[in-house]
């Protein structure tokens, strides 16, 4: 168990592809962190550098107080649960789990004790004598976790651990993994593209894109205070709506006006100062589909818009309404079973406290 510290880490592949750029990240001892991002964002390269399967192009990596840049994977005392499990097919489950301990020449009695302890923790004691080929995905997943945990790693990494499980197993394993972390208190890094996994298990989330760490924080932090449009759009389901517009002052009041003049939004007072302070010509207004309210009556209050229904889907527990406002499109989460039809005019109110503003040029939050 140890703290993991990445200082100005770079990864550049042959041919000049920069997979990871200037990554600074500290994972506290015993913390559960999720590395979240779309495919190709550099999260897997980061993971492979931590484990030692990929050379570090630049920067320093510390596990505890040890600089591990040049250490071979087996000397780093890290464990990785592979996405594909990567179990050793010719060996029994028991031998799979014991493999690392045998390499370390641990005494057989000690191996037996530790294998059985970890098997009990993962509830796979009854299959220790089988071979992986006979077992299903859920079991393989547990074996792969057991194999990683049996060595008491300083840092425990999981690469998309749930992606090959079915929905029921997945939600079960999410709870299990959280329990395991609570029991072992090991420094854990979960690499995933699925924000639900990250939110459900991790204490903090590190969002990456294009090889750059975008934001690190608790779910509340990245959800409520995204630092840029990427994080805002990536976290949250359905994703945030973005409306490009420009601020304009008319008769003492501040409006946001879309590029094609299809809407004018009276800016709530809350946001006026932020817009003024930034003094930016083009902004992207971000609002989550759950933060839009459908109005019965048209009003002219701040944060109100009028649009035309393009589609409405009633999904049982909620409804999803797509509204077009000129060239812009908005997704709204509504109650289910509304009688809305294509072409109907609807009135929406953006909840003032939930409006995000981004600089259209840099995409950074204002």
């Amino acid at each position: 168990m140890a703290e993991l510290r990445l200082v100005h880490i770079y990864k550049t592949y042959k041919g000049g592809v920069e997979a990871v750029k200037d990554l600074n990240l500290t994972v506290a001892d015993g913390e559960f962190l999720a590395l979240l991002g779309p495919s190709g964002c550099g999260k897997t390269s980061t993971l492979r550098m931590i484990v030692g399967l990929e050379e570090i192009t630049g920067g320093e990596m510390y596990i505890g107080s040890r600089l591990v840049n040049k250490l071979a994977p087996n000397h780093r005392n890290v464990a990785l649960a592979f996405e594909t499990y990567a179990l050793y097919p010719p060996l029994t489950v028991y031998e799979n789990i014991a493999f690392n301990l045998r390499a370390k020449k641990v005494a057989p009695a000690e191996i037996d004790r530790r294998v059985r302890a970890v098997a009990a923790m993962l509830e796979i004691t009854d299959i220790l004598n089988r071979t992986p080929a006979e077992l299903g995905g859920g079991h393989k997943q547990r074996i792969s976790l057991a194999r990683a945990l049996v060595r008491n790693p300083d840092v425990f990494l999981m690469d998309e651990p749930l992606s090959h499980l079915d929905a029921a197993q997945r939600s079960h394993m999410r709870v299990e993994l959280k329990r395991l972390h609570a029991e072992t208190k090991s420094t854990t890094i979960l690499v995933t593209h699925d924000q639900l996994e990250a939110v459900a298990m991790a204490e903090r989330i590190a969002v990456m894109n294009f090889g750059v760490l975008q934001q690190v924080g608790t779910f509340e932090e990245v959800y409520n205070h995204p630092v840029n449009e990427f994080v805002a759009g990536f976290i949250g389901e359905p994703p945030m709506n973005f409306l490009p517009c420009r601020p304009q002052r008319e008769g003492g009041q501040l409006f946001l006006i879309s590029a094609d003049n299809s809407f004018r939004l009276l800016v709530p007072d809350l946001l006026c100062s932020r817009l003024d302070r930034a003094g930016i010509q083009q902004v992207d207004l971000g609002i989550r589909p759950v933060h839009l309210d459908l109005l019965d009556q048209p009003g002219n209050g701040p944060g109100e818009l009028q649009g035309v229904v393009s589609t409405y889907e009633s999904l049982g527990e909620e409804g999803q309404l797509a509204v077009s406002i000129g060239a812009a499109a908005l997704l709204v989460v509504t109650p289910p079973e509304l009688s809305l039809r294509r072409g109907d005019t609807v009135h929406l109110r953006l909840r003032a406290s939930q409006i995000h503003l981004f600089d259209a040029k840099t995409q950074a939050a204002l």
């Binding site: 994977p73 594909t84 990567a86 050793y88 097919p89 010719p90 690392n100 992986p132 080929a133 393989k140």
Partner: protein, 287 residues
């Protein structure tokens, strides 16, 4: 239900019957060969199935006979020919294993320039008919002093055995996730340890099947030892020609020699039978 069951049974019976028929058809030449090998001279050209079997032919090819000793027919050298076949064929397979397993692994795992071209080149060894390359090869062999040597025959057999091994094993290695090797590296094992403890057991069916086929192809090869070998390395395939001369055809001895020459292949195939079916239905590796 009743009729369906009956139909199912009928289909099973029919398919069994068909298989038995095919079995008889396929094995008939072998049966005929065995029968001929047990016949004596006068019975040779009859189609009698009832005759007094004799093992004279076997004795003659293994130990020579009175007439051979007297110089009437060529002295039989079947045991030596058999050894030659055994040495060259197993030697060829051994070399192919030593070269082919690492080559197959590299072709499956590593990215390098010209990889597919290289793989294709190995395969292309099998394209050209042997007759096309045999004349230039024989010139080269005489120059290099490889003519009529065991090493020379093993070497030229690589044209037959190596592509087979490389291509079968490559697909096996490709089926094994590189994650397994990396997991083992994190576990603290050397690459060699992983290769022998984890990878080899996984490719064993393919290895067994490909090695057996390679052995059979080498064993049955006729053209290369005929042209590139002399009396030193004469194999059973080439030697079997010697039973027929312009004066007399010892077809019964030829048959006896063939029966004995088939034995190693049959024994080998039986001994690794359990790998064969899995091995030949490619890509049977599952985590």
């Amino acid at each position: 239900m009743q009729t369906e069951k009956a139909q199912g049974r009928l289909a099973a019976v029919l398919s069994d019957a068909f298989l038995i028929l095919y079995f008889l058809f396929a094995l008939f030449p072998l049966v005929w060969m065995v029968l001929v090998s047990l016949k004596s001279g006068p019975e040779l050209f009859t189609t009698q199935f009832v005759f007094t079997p004799t093992i004279d032919n076997y004795i003659a090819i293994l130990f020579g006979d009175a007439r051979a000793a007297a110089g009437v027919v060529a002295k039989q050298e079947f045991p030596r020919n058999f050894m030659n076949s055994l040495i060259t064929s197993s030697g060829a397979v051994l070399i192919s294993l030593l070269v082919g397993v690492p080559a197959a692994y590299a072709l499956a795992r590593y990215k390098f320039r010209g990889k597919e071209d290289l793989a294709f080149t190995f395969l292309s060894f099998r394209f050209a008919p042997e007759l096309v390359v045999i004349i230039p090869l024989s010139v080269v062999y005489r120059q290099l002093g490889l003519y009529d040597t065991h090493l020379g025959i093993m070497w030229v057999y690589q044209l037959v055995t190596l592509p087979l091994l490389i291509w079968v094993l490559r697909s096996y290695f490709e089926d094994i996730s590189p994650d397994i090797e990396q997991a083992a590296m994190i576990d603290g094992y050397s690459w060699w340890h992983v290769f022998f403890k984890i990878l080899m057991p996984l490719v064993r069916p393919g290895l067994a099947a490909a090695a057996l086929l390679a052995f059979i192809f080498a064993w049955n090869n006729f053209m290369f030892p005929l042209v590139l070998g002399g009396s030193n390395v004469q194999t059973v395939t080439v030697a079997s020609l010697g039973y027929i001369s312009s004066a007399q055809g010892f077809f019964n001895r030829m048959a006896a020699a063939s029966v004995l020459a088939t034995l190693p292949q049959i024994l080998l195939a039986l001994s690794i039978q359990r790998y064969l079916i899995r091995g030949l239905s490619f890509g049977a590796v599952k985590g």
